[in-house]
């Protein structure tokens, strides 16, 4: 049988980068052999259940675990008394392994039980009595900001977890000089990552070390967090990362692995916590909802003069990754469009709800939902073509944008050109002006465009360093192992790393075994976030390959006793150009190296230092190695009878530099479109009084195969990024960023109605169409 998998065993004369090959680890996935966290079993493993707060806000008077402890089969019960009295967190120390003095949201972790099986653990957990003095709770961010309301953390009496402010240029002068000012409010919703694999962890306390099997995409940061929380040095916490069944930003868990760690230490056996979908969907840490007010000052010719933005986001009861998403929401759009001057403020507000965290798009997709619609509105009011309007204002290659971000490569103009052509944008728009009030009957079609951009890594993530490192271990048996620290979350990084290393070593990708991540032997990487993995770990991999070649050449030089210049390396073979010695294949060289060095593998390393700088106190400085761009066009059909919106056509043009693997790259774009479509039209975590009302896949619908448009066209324009591996830059998040706005702009083009709240559900659309509601964001009054 010949499969495409077989073809990747052949050595490709022209190299492997740029070829569409399936993921190197796909066969195990297709056979059901990939071992995810829920499939792993350690000997004598116990199972745990978490006791959660049933009140949104209250003072803990006491926790009685005695009845739970007496249940036969219970091995350990943990409360805050078992944890060191430290608070921790990635930005703000407002996390506890288990709630100590107060509970702050429904679902807050208060205690946990480990037992011989799950039913026993669950039963015992139900017997833990938590005595809570209830306090007034607050769920609305604007109510939380108002004076005199409930205070969730005494240290933050105003309920503001994070305040982000930024100012560049003379915004006041810009507005004074403006011919047109648009001022609008847009609001984005709480979104569930809805990875198919629910949260899970296995903790094993052995020989004084907490071994945590945790599907984390940010293992090094997670390890820092966990060791701080446990009050232990880094080397007393070991992280082992199994294959990850989807994350999209969610799987850097704050306290679930720590709860398992406490239990394992107490019970003396490995302890697993594995959420069912019910628990996962009810208590997950969602994408933060945002309210944006934007004011944009424009000259009559369509040139942007200035921008003012005010953003309010919900932190929930503890501060997770959301401070960075607020900062992103405030100032990242300034590297897509040149607004010339800007003033921004972002407030991240505590509420008595589950903490919110990072999700693909990370505040940028949210910001663009509003800005891209406002640009269309400006274009309409100034009677400028919306494509031309964008072209005129985008930041160009070679420019340094408002906050010091250097755009080392941008083929965004080409993306705009291509997506317009592919979709026939101008003709579609000419054919159908937006419906007016009397025309909103039957089925209406409309087309919308939106742009997007993102980063390829972000300098402030880890204060210590940016960049990445890689280790190649070339064994005397000819085996090649590559160690990087950035986990594959499904995008296929393992595959592109194998392709990059294969080209450096003159072998096939299947011969490069990219190792799973284990803090005991993997580099301490910043992680897979901020769309950084392919760019950063890719550069480190190429560097490690070059180091391996250098070492092989030096070894051959020494073996052959010839000048180094006489040794040539070509496609995996070392040749003595003096002709005095037989050539070495890579395999022969490695065997020989092992013999000479008593079995030692050849170890090569690569370190990549990107040309990024830590932004200064004013938030100025080139924070990312490279910036990817995209232009998307969506076509929708709105059923005026039901309010139902279908996406019936979709076109995407991308600049991600060199495309390392067209097959996995296309998959990223399609996946991004699907998630954006879900966010735009159907997904919303419905909360009332701090309770998730739709914690399952029936009531929280994500797109199915039938929701996707057929014949999506994706094109990667010719591009080269000097700061990325073989000219590549990122793709994962930019694939999502324009989607929601493109769909919303298409809806306006169909109906003449601007939708400013997400999701644009059938019910919402129907109300806009038939109840004549002012199409103003429901949050507008609160932020103006």
């Amino acid at each position: 049988m010949t499969t495409t998998q077989d073809t990747i065993h052949e050595t490709a004369a022209q190299g492997w980068v740029g070829r569409g090959i399936p993921q190197v680890d796909i066969e195990a996935k297709l056979r059901g052999q990939t071992e995810y966290i829920g499939d792993l079993r350690l000997p004598n493993m116990a199972h745990a259940a978490i006791v959660r707060s049933t009140v949104a806000h209250g003072r803990i008077r006491g926790i009685d675990t005695s009845r739970a402890e007496r249940v036969p089969g219970v091995l350990a019960v943990a409360t805050a008394a078992d944890a060191p009295e430290v608070k921790f967190g990635p930005y703000t120390p407002d996390w506890e392994i288990l709630a100590r003095h107060k509970v702050r949201f429904i679902g807050d972790e208060v205690a946990a039980v480990a037992a011989i099986d799950e039913p026993t653990a669950r039963y015992a957990a139900s017997l833990v009595e938590v005595d809570v003095e209830e306090l007034p709770a607050v769920f609305d961010p604007f109510a939380a900001l108002a004076e005199g309301g409930p205070v969730i953390w005494d240290e933050y009496a105003d309920n503001v977890s994070t305040l982000f402010t930024i100012e560049r240029g003379d915004t006041r002068a810009a507005f004074d000089a403006a011919d047109l000012v648009v001022d609008d409010v847009y609001a984005t919703s709480r979104m569930y990552h809805a990875y198919l694999e629910p949260i899970g962890v296995i903790a094993h306390y052995v020989d004084g070390v907490h071994v945590l099997h945790v599907p984390s995409h940010i293992p090094y940061r997670a390890r820092q967090t966990y060791s701080a929380a446990l009050g232990l040095p880094l080397d007393k916490v070991r992280l082992v990362v199994p294959p990850i069944g989807g994350s999209f930003g969610a799987k850097y868990e704050m306290n679930t692995p720590l709860i398992a760690a406490l239990l394992s230490r107490k019970a003396g056996v490995p302890v697993r916590i594995l959420f069912g979908r019910d628990e996962d969907a009810a208590y997950h840490r969602p994408r933060p909802p945002f309210v944006f007010r934007n004011r944009i000052a424009v000259r009559a010719d369509g040139t942007f003069l200035g921008r003012e933005t005010d953003v309010v986001g919900i932190a929930g009861a503890r501060t997770y990754w959301s401070p960075a998403t607020v900062a992103t929401a405030v100032h990242r759009p300034d590297s897509l469009y040149n607004f010339n001057a800007m003033t921004g403020r972002g407030r991240l507000v505590y509420t008595n709800e589950s903490p919110t965290t990072a999700m693909r798009g990370f505040g940028n997709a949210e910001a663009l939902f509003g800005i891209e619609q406002m640009i269309d509105e400006i274009a309409e009011r100034l009677d400028i073509d919306p494509v031309e309007m964008r072209r005129r204002n985008i930041v160009q290659e070679g420019e340094t944008s408002l906050h010091g971000w250097y755009i080392s490569s941008s083929q965004l103009p080409a993306c705009i050109e291509r997506v317009s052509e592919m979709s026939g944008f101008a003709d579609r728009r000419r054919a159908r002006p937006p419906a007016t009030a009397g025309e909103r009957v039957g089925k209406l079609r409309g087309t919308g465009i939106a742009l997007g951009h993102h980063v390829s890594g972000y300098r402030p993530i880890l204060p210590d360093y940016d960049g990445s490192s890689a280790i190649l271990r070339l064994g005397p048996d000819g085996s090649i192992q590559l160690y990087v620290g950035e986990p594959d979350v499904g995008q296929g990084h393992v595959t592109v790393m194998a392709q990059l290393a294969a080209d450096e070593l003159g072998v096939a990708p299947a011969e490069v075994k990219v190792q799973g991540i284990d803090s005991a032997f993997s580099p301490a990487a910043v992680g897979t976030l901020a769309s950084r993995a392919a760019t950063m770990a890719g550069m480190a991999t190429v560097a490690a390959g070059a180091d391996a070649r250098r070492k092989l050449i030096a070894f051959a030089t020494e073996q052959w006793g010839v000048p180094e210049a006489a040794v040539s390396w070509q496609a995996g073979t070392l040749t003595d150009t003096t002709g005095a010695n037989e050539p070495f294949t890579l395999r022969q060289a490695l065997h020989r190296y092992g013999v000479v060095n008593c079995g030692l593998p050849l170890l090569a390393t690569g370190v990549h230092h990107p040309k990024t700088v830590m932004p200064d106190a004013t938030k100025y400085g080139n924070a990312s190695a490279a910036y990817p761009f995209a232009a998307h066009v969506a076509e929708v059909e709105v059923d005026c009878d039901t309010g139902q919106i279908s996406v019936v056509g979709y076109w995407a043009a991308h600049d991600s530099g060199t495309v390392l693997n067209p097959q996995t790259a296309r998959g990223q774009v399609l996946g991004g479109i699907a998630q954006g479509l879900g966010w735009a039209l159907m997904e919303d975590v419905i909360m009332s009084e701090g309770v998730v009302r739709n914690p399952n896949f029936l009531d929280y619908r994500i797109p199915g195969a039938g929701d996707m448009p057929a014949g999506v066209e994706v094109e990667f324009v010719d591009a080269y990024e000097p700061n990325g591996p073989r000219g590549a830059k990122s793709l994962g998040e930019v694939a999502l960023n324009p989607v929601v706005a493109a769909i919303a702009n298409a809806i306006y083009n169909a109906t003449g109605l601007r939708c400013k709240d997400l999701p644009i559900s059938p019910e919402r659309m129907w109300r806009y169409l038939h109840l004549g509601e002012p199409v103003e964001s429901s949050s507008a009054g609160a932020i103006r």
Binding site: M1, T2, T3, T4, D6, T7, I21, P22, Q23, I26, E27, K29, L30, R31, G32, Q33, E35, Y36, G38, D39, D117, P119, T120, R122, H193, A194, Y195, L196, E197, P198, I244, G245, G246, L274, G276, R277, D278, E279, G490, G492, R666, G667, V669, L670, G671, G672, I673, A674, Q675, N696, F697, L698, I702, P703, G704, A705, G706, M708, A710, V712
Partner: protein, 171 residues
Amino acid sequence: MSHHQEPSGAPEVGIELDLNGSPRTMIVDPVQSLASAVRAEGLTGTKLGCETGDCGACAVLVDGVPMASCLLPAVRAGGRRVTTVEGLGTATELSPLQAAFMRHNASQCGYCIPGILVAASPLVDRDELTRDDVVSELTGNLCRCTGYESIVDAVLDAHQQVRSGRTGGAA
């Protein structure tokens, strides 16, 4: 909270079934789902994504018909023919459908894929198969990563391969 694969502690019963082509006796809890029972047998390719019948990750074939094994009590599989993802190909060869999924790289994180392969496997033997057929037959299978395009393409490709008799997925 959830039910996962752990037994309830009620008296167990023995069932006999054909599991991936071999006769098998399984001792199961009366309330245990078939998903939980096959996973306890080491067949962990059957995934649990929701345990409420809403995601399709746990699909298995029961007498050739795809079913959500998270909802089906294992005792109901007694005397029947059950195929899990592990039973689709052989030790040495992938099934034509699996081979097509490989050609199309129809997987990202892979968590939904076993259920999708199982649910789609009867489709490749149909006389006629359109894109709309595939889409509607996969309504019960959720994937958060791929956007479905590669999956639908792979099913259609496998159907084409099988129909033209070139089974084995020659690329």
